[in-house]
Protein backbone atom coordinates (compact mmCIF):
# COMPACT_ATOMS: atom_id res chain seq x y z
CA UNK A 1 0.00 0.00 0.00
CA UNK A 2 1.27 3.46 -0.89
CA UNK A 3 0.63 6.45 1.35
CA UNK A 4 -0.65 8.51 -1.59
CA UNK A 5 -3.32 5.86 -2.26
CA UNK A 6 -4.87 6.58 1.12
CA UNK A 7 -5.08 10.31 0.44
CA UNK A 8 -6.51 9.50 -2.98
CA UNK A 9 -9.11 7.25 -1.36
CA UNK A 10 -10.10 9.87 1.23
CA UNK A 11 -10.66 12.43 -1.53
CA UNK A 12 -12.62 9.97 -3.68
CA UNK A 13 -16.23 10.45 -2.56
CA UNK A 14 -17.52 7.58 -4.69
CA UNK A 15 -15.65 5.06 -2.50
CA UNK A 16 -17.39 6.32 0.64
CA UNK A 17 -20.75 6.61 -1.11
CA UNK A 18 -20.48 3.09 -2.55
CA UNK A 19 -19.47 1.47 0.72
CA UNK A 20 -22.17 3.26 2.71
CA UNK A 21 -24.77 2.26 0.11
CA UNK A 22 -23.61 -1.34 0.44
CA UNK A 23 -23.73 -1.03 4.23
CA UNK A 24 -27.32 0.21 4.01
CA UNK A 25 -28.25 -2.72 1.75
CA UNK A 26 -26.50 -5.43 3.70
CA UNK A 27 -26.27 -4.47 7.38
CA UNK A 28 -29.92 -5.14 8.21
CA UNK A 29 -29.98 -8.18 5.94
CA UNK A 30 -27.21 -9.79 8.00
CA UNK A 31 -28.99 -8.94 11.26
CA UNK A 32 -32.19 -10.48 9.88
CA UNK A 33 -30.32 -13.61 8.82
CA UNK A 34 -28.86 -14.03 12.30
CA UNK A 35 -32.31 -13.59 13.82
CA UNK A 36 -34.14 -15.85 11.36
CA UNK A 37 -31.59 -18.64 11.00
CA UNK A 38 -30.71 -19.47 14.57
CA UNK A 39 -28.37 -22.26 13.49
CA UNK A 40 -25.80 -19.80 12.08
CA UNK A 41 -24.00 -19.21 15.37
CA UNK A 42 -23.72 -22.93 15.98
CA UNK A 43 -22.40 -23.43 12.43
CA UNK A 44 -19.79 -20.71 13.04
CA UNK A 45 -18.55 -22.45 16.18
CA UNK A 46 -18.31 -25.80 14.35
CA UNK A 47 -16.43 -24.29 11.40
CA UNK A 48 -14.00 -22.36 13.60
CA UNK A 49 -13.23 -25.42 15.69
CA UNK A 50 -12.66 -27.52 12.56
CA UNK A 51 -10.42 -24.88 10.98
CA UNK A 52 -8.29 -24.69 14.12
CA UNK A 53 -7.98 -28.46 14.09
CA UNK A 54 -6.81 -28.42 10.46
CA UNK A 55 -4.28 -25.65 11.20
CA UNK A 56 -2.84 -27.66 14.05
CA UNK A 57 -1.51 -30.11 11.46
CA UNK A 58 -1.61 -28.56 8.01
CA UNK A 59 0.75 -31.16 6.52
CA UNK A 60 -1.44 -34.09 7.51
CA UNK A 61 -4.67 -32.43 6.39
CA UNK A 62 -3.20 -31.24 3.09
CA UNK A 63 -1.97 -34.78 2.37
CA UNK A 64 -5.37 -36.18 3.27
CA UNK A 65 -7.12 -33.61 1.06
CA UNK A 66 -4.84 -34.34 -1.88
CA UNK A 67 -5.31 -38.10 -1.51
CA UNK A 68 -9.09 -37.70 -1.41
CA UNK A 69 -9.15 -36.34 -4.94
CA UNK A 70 -5.98 -37.91 -6.42
CA UNK A 71 -7.61 -41.30 -6.62
CA UNK A 72 -10.42 -39.98 -8.84
CA UNK A 73 -10.38 -40.39 -12.61
CA UNK A 74 -10.11 -37.31 -14.81
CA UNK A 75 -8.32 -35.34 -12.14
CA UNK A 76 -4.75 -34.08 -11.72
CA UNK A 77 -3.62 -32.82 -8.34
CA UNK A 78 -0.73 -30.43 -7.65
CA UNK A 79 0.84 -28.68 -4.69
CA UNK A 80 2.32 -25.19 -4.94
CA UNK A 81 4.39 -23.68 -2.16
CA UNK A 82 3.88 -20.12 -3.39
CA UNK A 83 2.33 -17.99 -6.10
CA UNK A 84 5.23 -18.46 -8.49
CA UNK A 85 4.91 -22.23 -8.37
CA UNK A 86 1.12 -22.02 -8.77
CA UNK A 87 1.42 -19.76 -11.82
CA UNK A 88 3.96 -22.16 -13.37
CA UNK A 89 1.59 -25.11 -12.90
CA UNK A 90 -1.33 -23.17 -14.39
CA UNK A 91 0.84 -22.11 -17.35
CA UNK A 92 1.77 -25.73 -18.06
CA UNK A 93 -1.89 -26.77 -18.02
CA UNK A 94 -3.20 -23.84 -20.04
CA UNK A 95 -0.44 -23.05 -22.52
CA UNK A 96 -1.20 -20.02 -24.70
CA UNK A 97 -3.79 -18.67 -27.14
CA UNK A 98 -6.64 -19.97 -25.01
CA UNK A 99 -9.89 -18.37 -23.94
CA UNK A 100 -10.13 -18.53 -20.17
CA UNK A 101 -13.20 -17.75 -18.08
CA UNK A 102 -12.46 -16.99 -14.46
CA UNK A 103 -14.75 -17.06 -11.47
CA UNK A 104 -14.10 -14.36 -8.90
CA UNK A 105 -11.37 -15.64 -6.62
CA UNK A 106 -9.30 -13.78 -4.05
CA UNK A 107 -6.60 -16.44 -4.12
CA UNK A 108 -6.12 -15.75 -7.82
CA UNK A 109 -5.80 -12.04 -6.96
CA UNK A 110 -3.22 -13.09 -4.37
CA UNK A 111 -1.05 -14.74 -7.03
CA UNK A 112 -1.93 -12.22 -9.80
CA UNK A 113 -3.11 -15.03 -12.01
CA UNK A 114 -5.18 -13.09 -14.56
CA UNK A 115 -2.37 -10.68 -15.35
CA UNK A 116 0.09 -13.57 -15.66
CA UNK A 117 -2.14 -15.59 -18.00
CA UNK A 118 -2.69 -12.53 -20.19
CA UNK A 119 1.07 -11.87 -20.32
CA UNK A 120 1.75 -15.37 -21.63
CA UNK A 121 -0.73 -14.90 -24.45
CA UNK A 122 -4.22 -15.86 -23.32
CA UNK A 123 -7.57 -14.12 -23.45
CA UNK A 124 -8.78 -14.02 -19.84
CA UNK A 125 -12.19 -12.86 -18.64
CA UNK A 126 -13.40 -12.15 -15.16
CA UNK A 127 -16.97 -13.41 -15.37
CA UNK A 128 -18.47 -11.90 -12.22
CA UNK A 129 -20.07 -8.59 -13.20
CA UNK A 130 -18.31 -6.54 -10.51
CA UNK A 131 -14.99 -8.21 -11.16
CA UNK A 132 -15.32 -7.59 -14.92
CA UNK A 133 -15.85 -3.88 -14.23
CA UNK A 134 -12.74 -3.88 -12.03
CA UNK A 135 -10.79 -5.74 -14.75
CA UNK A 136 -11.79 -3.17 -17.35
CA UNK A 137 -10.82 -0.34 -14.97
CA UNK A 138 -7.49 -2.08 -14.35
CA UNK A 139 -7.99 -1.69 -10.61
CA UNK A 140 -8.16 -3.99 -7.60
CA UNK A 141 -11.45 -5.18 -6.05
CA UNK A 142 -12.81 -2.65 -3.54
CA UNK A 143 -14.41 -5.32 -1.36
CA UNK A 144 -13.63 -9.00 -0.98
CA UNK A 145 -17.08 -10.07 -2.29
CA UNK A 146 -18.49 -6.88 -3.81
CA UNK A 147 -15.59 -5.67 -5.93
CA UNK A 148 -17.16 -2.75 -7.82
CA UNK A 149 -19.14 -1.02 -5.08
CA UNK A 150 -17.35 2.27 -5.68
CA UNK A 151 -18.51 2.67 -9.29
CA UNK A 152 -21.66 4.54 -10.20
CA UNK A 153 -24.03 3.28 -12.89
CA UNK A 154 -22.58 5.91 -15.25
CA UNK A 155 -18.97 4.89 -14.53
CA UNK A 156 -19.84 1.19 -14.97
CA UNK A 157 -21.50 1.99 -18.31
CA UNK A 158 -18.38 3.82 -19.51
CA UNK A 159 -16.11 0.93 -18.54
CA UNK A 160 -18.36 -1.74 -20.07
CA UNK A 161 -18.43 0.13 -23.36
CA UNK A 162 -14.81 -1.01 -23.79
CA UNK A 163 -16.14 -4.50 -24.57
CA UNK A 164 -19.08 -3.29 -26.62
CA UNK A 165 -21.72 -3.49 -23.90
CA UNK A 166 -24.23 -0.70 -24.43
CA UNK A 167 -26.77 0.74 -22.03
CA UNK A 168 -27.18 3.20 -19.20
CA UNK A 169 -29.08 1.47 -16.44
CA UNK A 170 -27.86 -1.39 -14.26
CA UNK A 171 -30.48 -3.66 -15.89
CA UNK A 172 -29.39 -2.78 -19.44
CA UNK A 173 -25.73 -3.24 -18.56
CA UNK A 174 -26.34 -6.58 -16.86
CA UNK A 175 -28.27 -7.82 -19.92
CA UNK A 176 -25.44 -6.68 -22.20
CA UNK A 177 -22.82 -8.43 -20.09
CA UNK A 178 -24.99 -11.57 -19.98
CA UNK A 179 -24.97 -11.75 -23.80
CA UNK A 180 -21.30 -10.84 -24.11
CA UNK A 181 -20.16 -13.32 -21.49
CA UNK A 182 -22.42 -16.15 -22.68
CA UNK A 183 -20.37 -16.30 -25.88
CA UNK A 184 -17.16 -16.43 -23.85
CA UNK A 185 -18.53 -19.25 -21.67
CA UNK A 186 -19.46 -21.26 -24.74
CA UNK A 187 -16.11 -20.71 -26.45
CA UNK A 188 -13.85 -21.01 -23.41
CA UNK A 189 -11.09 -23.63 -23.38
CA UNK A 190 -10.42 -23.36 -19.67
CA UNK A 191 -12.43 -22.38 -16.59
CA UNK A 192 -10.72 -21.29 -13.39
CA UNK A 193 -12.15 -20.94 -9.91
CA UNK A 194 -10.96 -20.61 -6.37
CA UNK A 195 -12.59 -22.60 -3.60
CA UNK A 196 -14.69 -21.58 -0.61
CA UNK A 197 -14.30 -24.92 1.13
CA UNK A 198 -12.66 -28.25 0.28
CA UNK A 199 -13.78 -31.50 1.86
CA UNK A 200 -10.77 -33.61 2.85
CA UNK A 201 -13.12 -36.55 3.23
CA UNK A 202 -14.56 -36.65 -0.29
CA UNK A 203 -12.48 -34.25 -2.37
CA UNK A 204 -15.47 -32.05 -3.17
CA UNK A 205 -15.06 -28.33 -3.82
CA UNK A 206 -17.77 -26.01 -2.49
CA UNK A 207 -18.36 -22.66 -4.15
CA UNK A 208 -21.12 -20.21 -3.34
CA UNK A 209 -22.44 -17.46 -5.63
CA UNK A 210 -25.45 -15.53 -6.88
CA UNK A 211 -24.80 -14.76 -10.55
CA UNK A 212 -24.31 -18.24 -12.02
CA UNK A 213 -20.94 -17.34 -13.52
CA UNK A 214 -19.09 -19.83 -11.31
CA UNK A 215 -21.44 -22.61 -12.37
CA UNK A 216 -20.92 -21.80 -16.05
CA UNK A 217 -17.14 -21.25 -15.70
CA UNK A 218 -16.63 -24.56 -13.95
CA UNK A 219 -19.09 -26.62 -16.00
CA UNK A 220 -18.79 -25.65 -19.68
CA UNK A 221 -15.02 -25.68 -20.44
CA UNK A 222 -13.30 -29.01 -21.12
CA UNK A 223 -10.54 -28.08 -18.67
CA UNK A 224 -11.33 -26.84 -15.20
CA UNK A 225 -8.67 -25.57 -12.79
CA UNK A 226 -9.49 -25.07 -9.11
CA UNK A 227 -7.03 -23.27 -6.89
CA UNK A 228 -7.44 -24.34 -3.29
CA UNK A 229 -5.52 -22.39 -0.65
CA UNK A 230 -4.88 -24.79 2.20
CA UNK A 231 -6.88 -22.73 4.71
CA UNK A 232 -9.99 -23.88 2.78
CA UNK A 233 -9.54 -27.52 3.76
CA UNK A 234 -12.19 -28.84 6.15
CA UNK A 235 -12.65 -32.39 7.42
CA UNK A 236 -16.09 -33.10 5.90
CA UNK A 237 -18.76 -32.11 3.36
CA UNK A 238 -21.06 -31.07 6.17
CA UNK A 239 -18.56 -28.53 7.49
CA UNK A 240 -17.96 -27.23 3.96
CA UNK A 241 -21.69 -26.73 3.53
CA UNK A 242 -21.87 -24.91 6.85
CA UNK A 243 -19.04 -22.63 5.78
CA UNK A 244 -20.59 -21.57 2.47
CA UNK A 245 -23.90 -20.93 4.21
CA UNK A 246 -22.13 -18.76 6.78
CA UNK A 247 -20.29 -16.82 4.11
CA UNK A 248 -23.49 -15.95 2.25
CA UNK A 249 -25.45 -15.19 5.43
CA UNK A 250 -22.82 -12.86 6.85
CA UNK A 251 -22.40 -11.03 3.57
CA UNK A 252 -26.16 -10.47 3.66
CA UNK A 253 -27.26 -12.35 0.55
CA UNK A 254 -28.91 -15.44 1.94
CA UNK A 255 -29.82 -17.96 0.77
CA UNK A 256 -27.27 -17.84 -2.03
CA UNK A 257 -28.71 -18.42 -5.50
CA UNK A 258 -26.20 -21.23 -6.10
CA UNK A 259 -24.11 -23.65 -4.13
CA UNK A 260 -21.73 -25.51 -6.44
CA UNK A 261 -20.33 -28.83 -5.32
CA UNK A 262 -17.61 -29.56 -7.85
CA UNK A 263 -15.74 -32.79 -8.35
CA UNK A 264 -14.20 -34.74 -11.25
CA UNK A 265 -16.80 -35.75 -13.84
CA UNK A 266 -16.93 -37.53 -17.18
CA UNK A 267 -16.40 -35.14 -20.06
CA UNK A 268 -14.16 -32.68 -18.22
CA UNK A 269 -10.51 -32.67 -17.15
CA UNK A 270 -10.15 -31.28 -13.65
CA UNK A 271 -6.93 -29.87 -12.21
CA UNK A 272 -6.73 -29.06 -8.51
CA UNK A 273 -3.84 -26.94 -7.23
CA UNK A 274 -3.33 -26.76 -3.47
CA UNK A 275 -1.55 -23.56 -2.50
CA UNK A 276 0.29 -22.69 0.71
CA UNK A 277 1.59 -19.16 0.08
CA UNK A 278 2.63 -18.37 3.63
CA UNK A 279 -0.19 -20.07 5.51
CA UNK A 280 1.85 -22.89 7.06
CA UNK A 281 4.56 -20.45 8.13
CA UNK A 282 2.15 -17.98 9.74
CA UNK A 283 3.34 -16.94 13.21
CA UNK A 284 1.21 -18.04 16.15
CA UNK A 285 -0.56 -14.69 16.62
CA UNK A 286 -1.82 -14.77 13.01
CA UNK A 287 -3.26 -18.27 13.10
CA UNK A 288 -6.69 -17.03 14.17
CA UNK A 289 -6.88 -14.99 10.96
CA UNK A 290 -6.74 -18.26 9.04
CA UNK A 291 -10.21 -19.12 10.36
CA UNK A 292 -11.55 -16.16 8.34
CA UNK A 293 -14.31 -17.20 5.91
CA UNK A 294 -13.90 -14.01 3.85
CA UNK A 295 -17.49 -12.83 4.12
CA UNK A 296 -16.19 -9.25 4.13
CA UNK A 297 -18.49 -8.11 6.92
CA UNK A 298 -15.60 -6.62 8.91
CA UNK A 299 -14.77 -4.47 5.89
CA UNK A 300 -18.27 -3.05 5.39
CA UNK A 301 -18.71 -2.31 9.11
CA UNK A 302 -15.27 -0.76 9.69
CA UNK A 303 -15.28 3.07 10.02
CA UNK A 304 -11.83 3.35 8.41
CA UNK A 305 -12.68 1.03 5.52
CA UNK A 306 -15.83 3.08 4.92
CA UNK A 307 -13.52 5.98 3.99
CA UNK A 308 -10.65 4.18 2.26
CA UNK A 309 -12.07 0.94 0.88
CA UNK A 310 -9.54 -1.70 -0.13
CA UNK A 311 -6.95 0.97 -0.84
CA UNK A 312 -6.25 0.48 2.86
CA UNK A 313 -4.34 -2.74 2.48
CA UNK A 314 -2.73 -4.91 -0.14
CA UNK A 315 -4.51 -7.86 -1.80
CA UNK A 316 -6.95 -8.02 1.10
CA UNK A 317 -8.04 -4.66 2.45
CA UNK A 318 -9.57 -3.46 5.70
CA UNK A 319 -9.32 -5.13 9.12
CA UNK A 320 -9.18 -8.69 7.77
CA UNK A 321 -6.63 -7.46 5.23
CA UNK A 322 -4.13 -6.60 7.96
CA UNK A 323 -3.98 -10.18 9.20
CA UNK A 324 -3.93 -11.60 5.68
CA UNK A 325 -1.15 -9.21 4.65
CA UNK A 326 0.80 -10.48 7.65
CA UNK A 327 0.29 -14.08 6.52
CA UNK A 328 1.39 -13.22 2.98
CA UNK A 329 4.43 -11.33 4.31
CA UNK A 330 3.23 -8.02 2.87
CA UNK A 331 2.42 -6.01 5.97
CA UNK A 332 3.56 -2.41 6.16
CA UNK A 333 2.64 0.76 8.00
CA UNK A 334 -1.00 0.41 6.94
CA UNK A 335 -1.62 -1.45 10.21
CA UNK A 336 -1.33 1.94 11.98
CA UNK A 337 -4.43 3.23 10.15
CA UNK A 338 -6.81 1.16 12.25
CA UNK A 339 -8.68 2.99 15.01
CA UNK A 340 -8.80 -0.28 17.02
CA UNK A 341 -12.47 0.41 17.78
CA UNK A 342 -13.20 -3.32 17.84
CA UNK A 343 -16.18 -3.28 15.45
CA UNK A 344 -14.49 -5.88 13.23
CA UNK A 345 -14.25 -8.40 16.07
CA UNK A 346 -17.83 -7.65 17.13
CA UNK A 347 -19.30 -8.45 13.68
CA UNK A 348 -16.99 -11.29 12.64
CA UNK A 349 -18.85 -14.65 12.52
CA UNK A 350 -15.60 -16.37 13.53
CA UNK A 351 -15.06 -13.80 16.33
CA UNK A 352 -11.50 -13.20 15.14
CA UNK A 353 -9.75 -10.75 17.43
CA UNK A 354 -8.51 -8.47 14.64
CA UNK A 355 -7.62 -5.57 16.98
CA UNK A 356 -5.26 -7.92 18.85
CA UNK A 357 -3.72 -9.05 15.56
CA UNK A 358 -3.28 -5.44 14.43
CA UNK A 359 -1.64 -4.49 17.76
CA UNK A 360 0.82 -7.37 17.35
CA UNK A 361 1.60 -6.29 13.81
CA UNK A 362 2.24 -2.74 15.04
CA UNK A 363 4.63 -4.02 17.70
CA UNK A 364 6.58 -5.81 15.02
CA UNK A 365 6.71 -2.76 12.82
CA UNK A 366 7.95 -0.63 15.71
CA UNK A 367 10.62 -3.18 16.59
CA UNK A 368 11.63 -3.23 12.96
CA UNK A 369 11.23 -6.97 12.74
CA UNK A 370 9.88 -8.74 9.77
CA UNK A 371 7.41 -11.55 10.27
CA UNK A 372 9.95 -14.25 9.54
CA UNK A 373 11.93 -13.33 12.64
CA UNK A 374 9.08 -13.86 15.10
Amino acid sequence: MREEDIYKAIKNRSIRAGILRTWENLHNAVEQNIERYRFLKEYAKDVKMAKLEVFSDYDRWTEKAMKSIESRNKCSVYYAEDGKEARKIVAEIVGRDKIIVKAKSMVSEEIQLREFLQEIGNEVWETDLGELIVQLANEKPMHVLAPAIHYSERQAAELLRKVGVKGYTAAELAEGVRKFMRQKFLLADVGISGCNAFSAKTGRIFLVENEGNIRLSTTLPKDYIAIVSIDKILPSDELCLKLVILQAAFLGTFPPAYINVNEPVEGQRMHVIFLNNGRKQAPEFLKEQLTCIKCGRCQIECPIFQITGSLWGNVYGGPMGMGWSGILGEIGYECFLSSLCGKCKEVCPMEIDMPRIIRELRKMMVRGNNLGEV
Partner: protein, 141 residues
Protein backbone atom coordinates in the same frame (compact mmCIF):
# COMPACT_ATOMS: atom_id res chain seq x y z
CA UNK B 1 -48.41 -36.84 11.31
CA UNK B 2 -50.29 -35.02 8.49
CA UNK B 3 -50.28 -31.87 10.65
CA UNK B 4 -46.50 -32.03 10.97
CA UNK B 5 -46.17 -32.61 7.25
CA UNK B 6 -48.50 -29.73 6.46
CA UNK B 7 -46.57 -27.46 8.78
CA UNK B 8 -43.34 -28.39 6.99
CA UNK B 9 -44.87 -27.85 3.55
CA UNK B 10 -46.36 -24.51 4.52
CA UNK B 11 -43.01 -23.44 5.94
CA UNK B 12 -41.36 -24.45 2.66
CA UNK B 13 -43.85 -22.51 0.54
CA UNK B 14 -43.40 -19.41 2.67
CA UNK B 15 -39.60 -19.72 2.39
CA UNK B 16 -39.72 -20.16 -1.38
CA UNK B 17 -41.91 -17.10 -1.80
CA UNK B 18 -39.55 -15.08 0.41
CA UNK B 19 -36.72 -16.22 -1.92
CA UNK B 20 -38.68 -14.79 -4.92
CA UNK B 21 -39.36 -18.27 -6.30
CA UNK B 22 -42.50 -18.90 -8.33
CA UNK B 23 -44.34 -21.78 -6.63
CA UNK B 24 -47.05 -24.10 -7.98
CA UNK B 25 -48.76 -26.72 -5.86
CA UNK B 26 -49.73 -29.73 -7.90
CA UNK B 27 -51.37 -33.09 -7.54
CA UNK B 28 -49.72 -34.20 -10.80
CA UNK B 29 -46.45 -32.39 -11.47
CA UNK B 30 -45.68 -34.14 -14.78
CA UNK B 31 -48.98 -32.95 -16.20
CA UNK B 32 -48.84 -29.42 -14.79
CA UNK B 33 -45.25 -28.81 -15.80
CA UNK B 34 -46.27 -29.22 -19.46
CA UNK B 35 -48.15 -25.94 -19.18
CA UNK B 36 -45.08 -24.11 -17.89
CA UNK B 37 -42.43 -25.38 -20.25
CA UNK B 38 -41.11 -23.49 -23.28
CA UNK B 39 -38.14 -23.79 -25.61
CA UNK B 40 -36.06 -21.72 -23.16
CA UNK B 41 -36.91 -23.75 -20.07
CA UNK B 42 -35.17 -26.68 -18.45
CA UNK B 43 -37.14 -29.03 -16.23
CA UNK B 44 -35.60 -31.41 -13.73
CA UNK B 45 -36.54 -33.38 -10.67
CA UNK B 46 -35.06 -32.17 -7.40
CA UNK B 47 -33.27 -34.64 -5.17
CA UNK B 48 -34.16 -32.74 -2.03
CA UNK B 49 -35.13 -29.37 -0.62
CA UNK B 50 -34.62 -27.69 2.77
CA UNK B 51 -37.83 -26.20 4.16
CA UNK B 52 -36.03 -23.69 6.38
CA UNK B 53 -33.91 -22.08 3.64
CA UNK B 54 -35.49 -23.16 0.35
CA UNK B 55 -32.18 -24.53 -0.94
CA UNK B 56 -32.94 -27.15 -3.61
CA UNK B 57 -30.48 -29.93 -4.47
CA UNK B 58 -30.26 -31.48 -7.93
CA UNK B 59 -28.12 -34.26 -9.37
CA UNK B 60 -26.03 -34.92 -12.49
CA UNK B 61 -23.46 -33.00 -14.50
CA UNK B 62 -25.66 -32.62 -17.59
CA UNK B 63 -28.47 -31.20 -15.47
CA UNK B 64 -26.02 -28.76 -13.91
CA UNK B 65 -24.96 -27.60 -17.37
CA UNK B 66 -28.46 -27.40 -18.85
CA UNK B 67 -30.01 -25.69 -15.86
CA UNK B 68 -27.27 -23.03 -15.86
CA UNK B 69 -27.79 -22.30 -19.56
CA UNK B 70 -31.59 -22.15 -19.49
CA UNK B 71 -33.59 -18.93 -19.26
CA UNK B 72 -36.13 -20.60 -17.02
CA UNK B 73 -35.29 -23.38 -14.58
CA UNK B 74 -38.26 -25.46 -13.44
CA UNK B 75 -37.86 -27.85 -10.54
CA UNK B 76 -40.25 -30.66 -9.72
CA UNK B 77 -40.24 -31.46 -6.02
CA UNK B 78 -42.07 -34.38 -4.48
CA UNK B 79 -43.18 -34.67 -0.88
CA UNK B 80 -40.51 -37.23 0.04
CA UNK B 81 -37.77 -34.81 -1.07
CA UNK B 82 -38.78 -32.18 1.48
CA UNK B 83 -36.38 -32.02 4.44
CA UNK B 84 -36.39 -29.89 7.55
CA UNK B 85 -32.98 -28.30 7.07
CA UNK B 86 -30.11 -27.94 4.64
CA UNK B 87 -27.84 -30.58 6.21
CA UNK B 88 -30.62 -33.16 6.03
CA UNK B 89 -31.32 -32.11 2.44
CA UNK B 90 -27.64 -32.38 1.49
CA UNK B 91 -27.35 -35.86 2.97
CA UNK B 92 -30.47 -37.02 1.16
CA UNK B 93 -29.23 -35.59 -2.14
CA UNK B 94 -25.78 -37.14 -1.88
CA UNK B 95 -27.36 -40.52 -1.14
CA UNK B 96 -29.15 -40.30 -4.51
CA UNK B 97 -26.45 -38.85 -6.80
CA UNK B 98 -22.66 -38.48 -6.85
CA UNK B 99 -22.71 -35.13 -8.63
CA UNK B 100 -24.92 -32.60 -6.92
CA UNK B 101 -25.56 -28.86 -7.10
CA UNK B 102 -27.93 -26.49 -5.36
CA UNK B 103 -30.11 -23.57 -6.37
CA UNK B 104 -32.41 -21.42 -4.28
CA UNK B 105 -33.55 -18.72 -6.65
CA UNK B 106 -32.93 -17.23 -10.09
CA UNK B 107 -29.53 -15.84 -11.02
CA UNK B 108 -29.05 -12.34 -9.61
CA UNK B 109 -26.57 -9.53 -9.06
CA UNK B 110 -26.32 -6.32 -7.08
CA UNK B 111 -22.91 -5.35 -8.42
CA UNK B 112 -23.92 -2.00 -9.94
CA UNK B 113 -24.93 0.47 -7.24
CA UNK B 114 -26.45 -2.39 -5.23
CA UNK B 115 -29.43 -2.53 -7.63
CA UNK B 116 -30.95 -6.00 -7.68
CA UNK B 117 -31.05 -7.42 -11.22
CA UNK B 118 -32.42 -10.88 -11.98
CA UNK B 119 -30.89 -13.16 -14.61
CA UNK B 120 -27.26 -12.12 -14.54
CA UNK B 121 -25.64 -15.20 -16.09
CA UNK B 122 -27.95 -18.07 -15.19
CA UNK B 123 -31.74 -18.52 -15.41
CA UNK B 124 -33.86 -15.38 -15.21
CA UNK B 125 -36.62 -17.29 -13.53
CA UNK B 126 -36.76 -20.22 -11.10
CA UNK B 127 -40.01 -22.11 -10.60
CA UNK B 128 -40.83 -24.88 -8.17
CA UNK B 129 -43.67 -27.30 -8.85
CA UNK B 130 -44.40 -28.99 -5.55
CA UNK B 131 -46.28 -32.26 -5.96
CA UNK B 132 -48.35 -33.35 -3.00
CA UNK B 133 -51.08 -35.87 -2.40
CA UNK B 134 -54.83 -35.21 -2.57
CA UNK B 135 -54.96 -35.64 1.21
CA UNK B 136 -52.47 -32.81 1.85
CA UNK B 137 -53.64 -30.55 -0.96
CA UNK B 138 -56.49 -29.01 0.98
CA UNK B 139 -54.30 -28.16 3.97
CA UNK B 140 -51.93 -25.88 2.10
CA UNK B 141 -52.32 -22.31 3.27
Amino acid sequence: MPNEVLELLNQLIETLKRNSVEVYISKDAERDVERLKSEDSFICNALSIAADTGIVFFGGFESRKNSALAEHHIAIIRRDAVCKNVIEAYNLAISKSNVIFATSTASKTGDIEGKLIWGMHGPKKFTVVLEISEELYGGIA
